[in-house]
């Protein structure tokens, strides 16, 4: 046999095995370091970070609330619990996450809340219009922390493959993370920590205690660009029927069952929306079909309500960086509008 090496044979079984084991251990340590890096809001995808942060906020709560607000980013930008309390006299907490977890994420958080505090007085689910036919992003759901009250909240929501991917995302972020990790590895000079990295590993990095994250100003170009994208989208889908995704259907059923079992009301509310989009005929066509599909799906559940009427609209200068993220000032307007429609 052709021998490509002229060195004497000094490779032993123990050396090879030890090398492999050592590398394995070091890779695991690197994986833990990746976990720490990505759990920090400064380094990872902020949307994904928000998901984990909501579970930690839930874990930090010391008292129950009257109104539990769940939903996506249109919710955590748009709903201000302090304004709600001022308008209604009742407490609220905003555990809105991001749209990637779709309503499965909301159902999981609600179950976690009920586990800790029992049923709230009522729940508001704030979501963007195009959330209901999306499939779940397993990478997003994998941002729930590794252990704690969030365990076993996903029963009945995901397939075996989705569940496996979620688990791998949680324990093996070095491989399953999104573009954040490669970006940090490519540009290590951008890594920042504003909190103790050791606490970040358990995702105790904080948001405000009521969960509200006011938007930092307005980015007109982004809003205009996002609006154009949505107008193109609705013109493409206007004639089609709306089919809710399987995961959303399963989550709606769980929300409905919980509301019936614990006897509290859940209100499905569309988040803030750009005036021009709302006025668009194709959007209106599509939106009415969406509402029809939602109405049919939640029909069996007496305490699961779809808020009637048109969504609350805003102009470009009142929005942050998309058609459904309001500025900090406009959040007050949205919250008061909600209070007027829901709480009274």
């Amino acid at each position: 046999m052709h021998n490509t090496s002229t060195r004497s044979n000094r490779i032993t079984a123990s050396r090879v095995i030890l090398t492999v084991l050592s590398v394995f251990v070091l890779v695991l340590m690197a994986n833990f370091a990746a976990l720490v890096l990505l759990k920090s809001a400064e380094n990872g995808n902020r949307g994904y970070w928000r998901i984990g942060a909501m579970w930690n906020l839930l874990g930090r709560m010391e008292e129950p609330t009257d109104w539990l607000v769940l939903g996506d980013s249109s919710g955590f930008r748009g709903f201000d619990p302090a304004v709600w309390q001022d308008a209604t006299g009742e407490k609220a907490i905003n555990l809105s996450a991001t749209v990637q977890v779709v309503s499965a994420g909301y159902a999981m958080l609600l179950k976690g809340y009920i586990e800790r505090f029992g049923a709230p007085k009522a729940v508001i689910v704030i979501h963007t219009y195009d959330a209901w036919y999306r499939e779940v992003d397993t990478l997003a759901v994998g941002q729930t922390p590794l252990w704690g009250i969030w365990e076993n909240r996903s029963a009945g929501l995901f397939s075996i493959v989705q569940s496996a991917k979620i688990l791998l995302t949680k324990i093996f972020p070095i491989y399953y993370s999104d573009t954040s990790l490669p970006s940090l590895v490519l540009r290590p000079y951008t890594i920042r920590f504003t909190a103790n990295p050791l606490t970040i590993a358990t995702n105790r990095a904080r948001v405000a205690d009521n969960g509200f994250e006011p938007a930092p100003g307005t980015e007109t170009d982004s809003v205009v660009s996002d609006l154009a994208g949505h107008l193109r989208f609705v013109s493409r889908v206007a004639g089609r029927n709306v089919e809710l995704s399987d995961v959303n259907k399963a989550a709606l059923h769980q929300l409905g069952e919980l509301s019936d079992q614990y006897e509290f009301d859940i209100y499905l509310v569309n988040g803030p929306i750009h005036t021009n989009l709302n006025d668009d005929r194709d959007f209106q066509n599509h939106y009415s079909k969406l509402r029809q599909a939602l109405t049919e799906e939640i029909g069996p559940f007496k305490r699961l309500h779809l808020l009637p009427g048109e969504p609350k609209t805003f102009e470009t200068h009142q929005l942050f960086n998309s058609i459904d993220h309001v500025t900090g000032e406009s959040a007050e307007s949205y919250t008061r509008w909600l209070a007027d429609r829901v709480a009274r």
Partner: protein, 456 residues
Amino acid sequence: MLTQRWLRVQNTLLLVASYIFYGWWDWRFLGLIALTTVVDFAMSNLIHTSNDALRRKAFLVFSIVFNLGILGFFKYFNFFEDSAVSLLKMFGMQPDFFTLKILLPVGISFYTFQSMSYTIDVYRGALKPTRNLFDYALFVSFFPQLVAGPIERVPHLLPQVTGKRTITWEGINSGLALLVWGFFKKVVIADMVGLIADEIFNGYDDLHGIVILIGMLAFTVQIYADFSAYSDIARGLSKMMGFDLMVNFRLPYFARNPADFWRRWHISLSSWIRDYLYIPLGGNRGGKWKTYRNIFVAMALSGLWHGAAWNFVLWGVYHGAPQVGHRAWLDRFPPPKDRPPGGWQSNALVVAQVAGMFTLTVIGWVLFRSRSMDQIVGMFTHLGFGVTDQALDLGYQLAYFTLPLVVVQVFQLAKNELHLFEGIRAPAQVAVYTYLIVMSLAFALRAPSEFIYFQF
């Protein structure tokens, strides 16, 4: 030292595994590789047992025509048809040929050449054919090198199939080094710089300045990292099973002249072309003009082997021209036999030669990667010195991903040693492997892509 006693069981397992591996992509083409195997096995045995020169030649011709026919049909049918249609249209005709949607079987260019070399070697009397069809089938279909080489030769691989193999810890250590380095080269280097190359080649129309050069360099790195990664992975897996596959790359970007480049790049193909095309055409035995012709033809066909498109032929011809030119130069100005070694002038000459050959190679890769003459012209005419933010960002990324490759290659050159990682001390080996694996995991899935040479 580990010894393997059940050769027949091993070979059967390997053969089944190889066919499952190949069939996983598309089971319909298992029949094709099996047919190639049976035909060449039969023809080689008929050649060996026949005493009639004419019959022996007829069996050889049958084997060659069969193999090239299959290759020609699956790979080149639509290419030649489209070319014929274009040619006829130039003369004002409007031919109405039918178009077949022909799926190119993965690895067909590799295993047909590998199988053909067997029949040709038997005909030449260079070796006796094996009597065991299954051993031969394993030689043709051995899964680590089946789909993208190296194109193995019978005297090298078949004895390892039929003879007793030894799996040693040194082999496993060596195999692991090749595997880890190969995966890193593919997942981190090739795929990441491939994104840069794609961005620039696909958007060249709107780009000008140094960013074009970055795109050219990115593809130069991508194709080498991608192809050599596959070879490393194939060799690494094989070593861990007790097989030794041939080295397919020997620091090709340090070549000093065109002939040197082809002694370092895709060695298994270039040596195949030399032994089964260039030499049968006459090699360098018919005078200088015939030699130049033979070099040119060999390189043009080598280009055509890569793909059914005129840019590949152009690339082959492009590489043929400097080879002929270099040969002519040496014929006219042969190097002095007693040139003293060393000295800064000698080193400067080497650096200049390497830089010159590298430049020629980069130009060739533009021809290889481009999809049209417009793109080729556009890439060169848009080249310039203008620096943009995009160029800075992509340049940084190119440097970031290429640096490990450059470091390793420089060390390999300095130590005159291709097998770098397996010989270093254990702590250094652990550190290097950890770095390579962590980076591979972090960048995997970002841009999953096939190996480039799978398409050939």
